[in-house]
Symmetry: C2
Subunit: 83 residues, 2 copies
């Protein structure tokens, strides 16, 4: 592996970072977890656990959440690039 | 759901779109699937199935692949925003 590249974030850090980004965006839109879950067609408990950094969320659900939060997927995922 | 918003991509389209982006980037870097798998610490068969659009890849592995392909995660995921 090239020495010049930073190691990727740890598994835990990845989930927590993503969860924080989801929560921040939801709160900026003044939406409840229930409303985001409804828009994304996901369970409220699932959205809650994603926000708490407890889920290794899959591609489909990332796309659903981005849709519900009115964010381009790329912009939502850019949270993973900030250290 | 607001009528002004486009529906998110279908599950199949999401996986195929992501797989094509991974393959395009890998080929641009002149890397084999074996090399990308090694850099990402994933199995070659797994990388192959992701490229074929057969996987609902999870957040951790998205981050690993972005790392292996020397792409910011946000830039890699921006493929999901092109229709």
């Amino acid at each position: 592996m090239p020495k010049s590249r930073a190691k990727p974030l740890s598994k835990e850090k990845v989930q927590v970072t993503f969860g924080m980004a989801i929560r921040a965006r939801r709160e900026a839109l003044l939406l409840t977890q229930e409303k985001v879950a409804e828009l994304a067609e996901l369970h409220t408990n699932y959205v809650s656990s994603v926000e708490r950094g407890e889920r290794n969320i899959g591609l489909h659900n990332i796309v659903r959440l981005a849709f519900a939060l009115e964010m381009p997927v790329g912009a939502l995922m850019a949270c993973m690039d900030m250290r």
